[in-house]
Symmetry: C2
Subunit: 317 residues, 2 copies
Amino acid sequence: MHPAIQPEDVRAAAARIRPLARQTPVLGSAAFDNEAGIRTLFKCENLQLGGAFKIRGASNLVLSLPRETLAKGIVAYSSGNHAQATAIASQYVGAAATIVMPEDAPRSKMEATRRRGANIVTYNRFTQSRETIAAGILKESGATLVPPFDHPMIMAGQGTAALELFTETGPLDALITPVGGGGLLAGCATITKAMHPGTRIFGAEPEAGNDTFLSMNAGERIGISVPDTIADGLRSQKPGELTFPVVRSLAERIILVTDDELRAAVKFLLLELKILAEPSGAAAVAAVLFHKFPPEIRSVGVVISGGNVDFEDLATY
Amino acid sequence: MHPAIQPEDVRAAAARIRPLARQTPVLGSAAFDNEAGIRTLFKCENLQLGGAFKIRGASNLVLSLPRETLAKGIVAYSSGNHAQATAIASQYVGAAATIVMPEDAPRSKMEATRRRGANIVTYNRFTQSRETIAAGILKESGATLVPPFDHPMIMAGQGTAALELFTETGPLDALITPVGGGGLLAGCATITKAMHPGTRIFGAEPEAGNDTFLSMNAGERIGISVPDTIADGLRSQKPGELTFPVVRSLAERIILVTDDELRAAVKFLLLELKILAEPSGAAAVAAVLFHKFPPEIRSVGVVISGGNVDFEDLATY
């Protein structure tokens, strides 16, 4: 099957999103390297505009839309970070945004989305389908859907994180990113393999939200029930139709991490690197910190994908 | 009086410390700008090696010492961040370090210093003099003292933070840094005025530790009793003999912040910028956040000077 994106799409995205997305810092930590036993470079998307990598994909799609399309509005469904990113990109171009969010999404994510001028529609993620709700709004308004991951422009936008990372670091033995729907991993894998074909690609998923892990093993997309994990950004139930073939062909395997490992990784990043990651955002960090890599890998680029946490939750880690 | 440092000393320091100190990121935040009502650019020394700007000054002095001097060892006294920085610089050049620390210094700072191979000597900061203890060790060993602020090489090293900041941002209306002994402010003011003579210079001090504020008003160095403030890095009791004339001639005034304002600034940085600052490190941030600037200042560079906090303390903010 012809892949949904090419490396050129990621390079084009980098130029398109420049006015909106930040070039985030790449940080290292001797304390982390000692603990993990491997040279680790962190691409800090928690320091990105909106607190997550999601602005890369959302702005790549929104900034490509013609004015008359934008005038009909933008719709997105998301547990939080993609919601906020879509709200930011919509506000930037002056388009009205409606965001469909689970009613139990972290309060900070919901408030941040509202602050960006978006209209929020909530739903119960155990009994209702966000796709159905979004479809109803789209039909009524003629608005454009900005999907959270399963779209070529979204995947290409997310891939700019790896483009920036490897432009700054040069080749590394491996790259690892968190995996929800697979947009970040698909985009990053595509550009990484083009820049450095020898770099091995991994994804990190919470044990309870192992849809991509199961799908990789089965060789086809496997659905799971709503995952019970602290990683609220990685509660996807099935890999994307477009993202999965890319992930399957370029990633070596998916590494699973427990919620306790996620908490420990968040705490380590906070105390040693002085940066705040959310549990979902620290999934790839946890995989490295808990020695889940093949031993011959001596250097790794790790995407910290987001940092939106409620203050009250932090104290419980 | 001839100032203790010149802009060339800061430029020389930048070259000398390059192998050891990091070029830290400069971050901005629309949420912060909205709240503060002023365009703010943060120089993130909390993301510096050792978690604070102190490595700049310590490595500038240590890396300038001849081998035979280093062989006799290094001594420093510090509440924490300068201790860790001196330990890192000493370890880098292979010199034995003895650090005199208050017995109630934050546990994380003491542990980090010990991890860097330093020998720690503790004292009671209410009943004992760290200078006297350090003098005893120096006399016995022939080691070199790396003072926390009152030394031309220390001041010049700290100034590299502002050199990097303004090289990246270009001119801004103002610069503000936290003030303990005044090394950071003196060094940063010196290079900033050389790069952009129109940039106005401010310092930020905790209300309870207002020795430099009082000294500026009096026109001479005023001593205070041991300050009771959450800002453990800004508990200096008197401005430095060398730092004060520089601060007095280049800084417009010292802005005071309360401990509650420090806590709020730490929390704001954590939740909105996703970075961890310690209360001392957030003093300049608090001054901007709580609108303590003259209204005509529309843009400001803020040094976040450190990020070493005990996890348990965070939850109480």
